[in-house]
């Protein structure tokens, strides 16, 4: 039983990180594209735009990091493996 749980945990950790990276990847791409366009239109606002962009990217990236932490919990701190 423990072996089965371990195998499923490894599989689900990989799935969690793999699929969890798709959404933030798309979101960050859109955010950077929009920021590029904004800087190209208004180069004098580049400082404000890039600071807001960095904070926003960090917010989006947190979703991917959550997936990573869930995967690590499943791998290393799984409550169902004794």
């Amino acid at each position: 039983m423990n072996d089965l749980i371990q195998a499923v945990s490894i599989f689900s950790a990989a799935i969690a990180v793999g699929f969890g990276a798709i959404g933030p990847g798309l979101g960050e791409g859109r955010a950077v594209a929009a920021a590029m366009e904004a800087i190209a239109r208004q180069p004098e606002a580049a400082g404000t735009i890039s600071r807001t962009l960095f904070v926003g990217l960090a917010m989006i990236e947190t979703m991917a990091i959550y997936c990573l932490v869930v995967a690590l919990l499943v791998l290393f701190a799984n409550p169902f493996i004794r």
């Binding site: 904070v55 690590l72 290393f76």
Partner: protein, 233 residues
């Protein structure tokens, strides 16, 4: 493989178990404190090279706080500046051989996020008054009160997990690649790690500034004005 969530004590001081992130963060504190004490020993009106560099650093931090908060940065400089410098030096401390960044363990990040959490409330109460601060939870309507309370905790938690996840994943990936490929191969990844570390330190400091700014309220005031407490009561 060693779990990144577990910690073994290095040595014991009485009943207290001391782990490696504790030693590393005290090392970072001693390094920063010693460096600042050495560099500010002979301050002059006509700055030397070291003093000019330090002044540039402080005025950059001031400008960032001022742009984010729209307030006089002086009361917040100590907290935000030390959070930024401590996180930056901790993230980069993996440059020293044998040192693991203290921020790669969730306890250090949790301690820093707790400091931000408590100081958010403290600044909010100090500048708006207790009633005024509690009233911000009912903005824009009273329906949002539970959500606003939950937000206080979730954003602190995401502050912890963001820094921990970014730094720890860098350390972890370097460990895996070292085991697979050996010497000199992980160097480009280490360079990427330095970039991530700098960005995460910046983001941690900016988010702390944003949280405190939302607690104290951003009434536009010209910097270098009279004390911000004067307008509230």
């Amino acid at each position: 493989m060693k779990s990144p969530l577990a910690l073994e004590p290095l040595f014991h001081v009485g009943p207290l178990a001391v782990t490696s992130p504790v030693v590393a963060s005290w090392g970072v504190i001693a390094f920063l404190g010693g460096l600042s004490a050495l560099a500010t020993r002979r301050l002059d009106l006509l700055p030397s090279k070291t003093q000019a560099t330090l002044e540039l650093l402080v005025s950059t931090i001031d400008a960032q706080i001022c742009e984010t908060m729209q307030r006089d940065p002086a009361p917040f400089r100590a907290l935000i500046g030390s959070i930024f410098l401590f996180t930056l030096v901790s993230n980069w401390s993996s440059l020293a051989p044998g040192v693991e960044p203290p921020t790669a363990h969730i306890e250090t990040d949790a301690a820093m996020a707790l400091i931000v959490f408590v100081s958010t409330i403290a600044w909010g109460v100090r500048i708006r008054g207790l009633r005024g601060y509690l009233a911000t939870f009912a903005e824009p309507t009273w329906v949002m009160i539970p959500l606003n309370i939950v937000e206080q905790f979730t954003r602190t938690f995401s502050l912890i997990v963001r820094l921990f996840g970014n730094v720890m994943s860098g350390v972890f990936i370097i460990g895996i690649i070292m085991a697979l490929a050996g010497l000199l191969v992980p160097i480009p990844l280490m360079a990427l790690d330095l970039l991530t570390g700098a960005i995460q330190a910046y983001i941690f400091a900016v988010l702390a500034t944003v949280f405190i700014a939302s607690a104290v309220g951003g009434r536009p005031e010209p910097p270098g004005d009279a004390s911000p407490e004067g307008a509230t009561k």
